[in-house]
């Protein structure tokens, strides 16, 4: 299999992460056990192209890099934050040319790839690229497009059946797979629409999870000849393993036993329990709310939905009325705010599950939460996903 896609630096502050992957590099590494002899074609920064060559070789991947001066990097504060892109060139480089039997093509920051293959899997990486597979002269006897629902919505105006079928028709694709984060994925093929679940993971490291999905789908559908629904199911299983372990190479024998998550109920509300009295606290509330909403969740946030004006009795009543309408509480625990802990206790008294984010807790402060079966996690993106998965009724 040939992978043609970006190789970039990736930096994350929390959790700390400093790697050379990018979609192309990660995908090639991900399939390297399943597809020995995988080739990667990409541009790479001349300052670290040698690091990239050795990195790919460690996975058994043969890399063909076109060196460029730009040091392209994606910077994350946390895995669900908006990535800051640095080092992108002002103009795109000329297209890379790839021909083969099975090709996985990603959209690039710095250039493009013209591919000609029997089976092509195209992950555009950007809404602007969604409709452009054939625009640069690329050709595929059979084409599958794998993209996320935001890209599909922006490109086609609809992230459901209508958008996917429109994309299939426009691009002459036989398969479209829409990745939906905590809700898994949807496969659209001729006469087929199938929901693929997300699979259970004890923690969620989100950077690169979409690349792993596309890679495994490409290998299973493109190379192994699996039905697209089965290929997407294998891809979703592989993602659950990746986000939990951060091991890039996928061994499908390790994902046979993972359990599917029931689909979250997007209409069920998540109560965001947190202090908001300092800029840092308020920023956390805004960030958690943004992430939940961007992943399709419904959120009740006391500061947004009730506010801080009015006497204590009024605010408490309105907050607790809101809480009782929610199916799960996401509590930001650091600082042990009295109001947040009260809300946690109130939720448990009413049988409402609680996901508690405690990055730096005093061990003794968690006793009551542990004793009332709260889910306690130490990283932000896992807390967001657990809260969404907690909306299952």
């Amino acid at each position: 299999m040939i992978v043609v896609g970006g190789v970039y630096r990736e930096e994350c502050i929390r959790p700390a992460w400093s790697r050379i992957f990018g979609s192309g590099g990660r995908a090639a590494a991900a399939v390297s056990l399943l597809s020995p002899g995988t080739q990667l074609v990409a541009y790479a920064c001349e300052q670290w192209v040698e690091d990239a060559e050795h990195s790919m070789a460690a996975f058994g991947v043969t890399a063909e890099f076109q060196p460029i001066p730009e040091d392209i990097a994606f910077h994350y504060l946390h895995p669900l934050s908006h990535a800051e892109l640095t080092g992108a060139p002002q103009a795109r480089y000329g297209s890379l040319q790839v021909a083969g039997d099975i090709v996985l093509r990603f959209g690039f920051v710095e250039g493009d790839a013209r591919v000609d293959a029997k089976r092509v899997i195209f992950d555009p990486q950007n809404a602007d690229e969604v409709l452009r597979f054939r625009e640069n002269g690329s050709n595929a006897e059979a084409l599958a497009i794998v993209l996320n629902e935001v890209e599909l919505k922006l490109a086609l105006g609809d992230a459901g059946e209508e958008g996917a079928r429109g994309l299939m028709q426009h691009s002459r694709a036989s398969v479209v797979v829409v990745k939906r984060g905590p809700r898994g994925a949807t496969v659209f093929a001729k006469d087929v629409t199938a929901q693929i679940p997300a699979y259970a993971a004890n923690s969620v490291f989100k950077i690169g999870s979409g690349d792993v999905f596309s890679a495994i789908f490409a290998q299973r559908w493109g190379e192994a000849g699996e039905d697209p629904v089965i290929a997407a199911d294998n891809a979703s299983r592989a993602v659950s393993r990746y986000v939990e372990t951060r091991n890039t190479q996928v061994d499908l024998s390790q994902v046979t036993m993972v359990l599917p998550r029931k689909a979250p109920d997007t209409a069920s509300m998540i109560y965001l329990a947190a202090p908001f009295f300092t800029l840092a606290q308020r920023w956390m509330v805004e960030e958690a709310r943004r992430c939940l909403l961007s992943l399709g969740a419904s959120v009740f946030s006391p500061i947004h939905d009730v506010g801080s004006k009015g006497d204590a009795e009024y605010i408490a009543r309105r907050d607790l009325d809101g809480l009782e309408q929610c199916s799960v509480v996401l509590a930001l625990l650091d600082g042990e705010d009295a109001g947040t802990l009260f809300e946690v206790g109130h939720a448990r008294r009413h049988g409402i599950p609680v996901v508690a984010l405690a990055e730096s807790p005093r061990p003794e402060s968690l006793t009551m939460l542990q004793g009332t079966n709260c889910t306690i996690v130490s990283d932000f993106s896992t807390a967001i996903y657990e809260a969404i998965w907690g909306t299952v009724r």
Binding site: R9, I20, F21, D51, A58, F59, N202, R246
Partner: protein
Amino acid sequence: MSSKQTPTRPSSKAASKEEATSAGTNINACDFLIAVDLEGIRLPRLARLKIGDLLKVELRTEGVYPTVICVDDEGQTVGALSAFLNLAQLIRCLRSGVKYQVGITQLRPGGCHVVGSRVV
């Protein structure tokens, strides 16, 4: 297993091209921090480890490109170091005889993070 403290080093900057060509002659070119998740984890070996355990960094030379691996106190491979700035320089330094070790700083089911540097 050993429960020694994880080694720490201040520098995390990528080596410049000039430094990168001088392994063996410029001692500072080999003095950098390694902080990365292990790849290609051997699960049975991982299961024996705990946070703070030290792993030796070794070069495995098969084929055109060598691989940098981490081995436990029984000499068994736990996983590989890959996909980070300074990997090529690390390989050059290992080839020139510089020794490195890493300590386990995070353990997850099926994965781990290591931090380390050269052994003085």
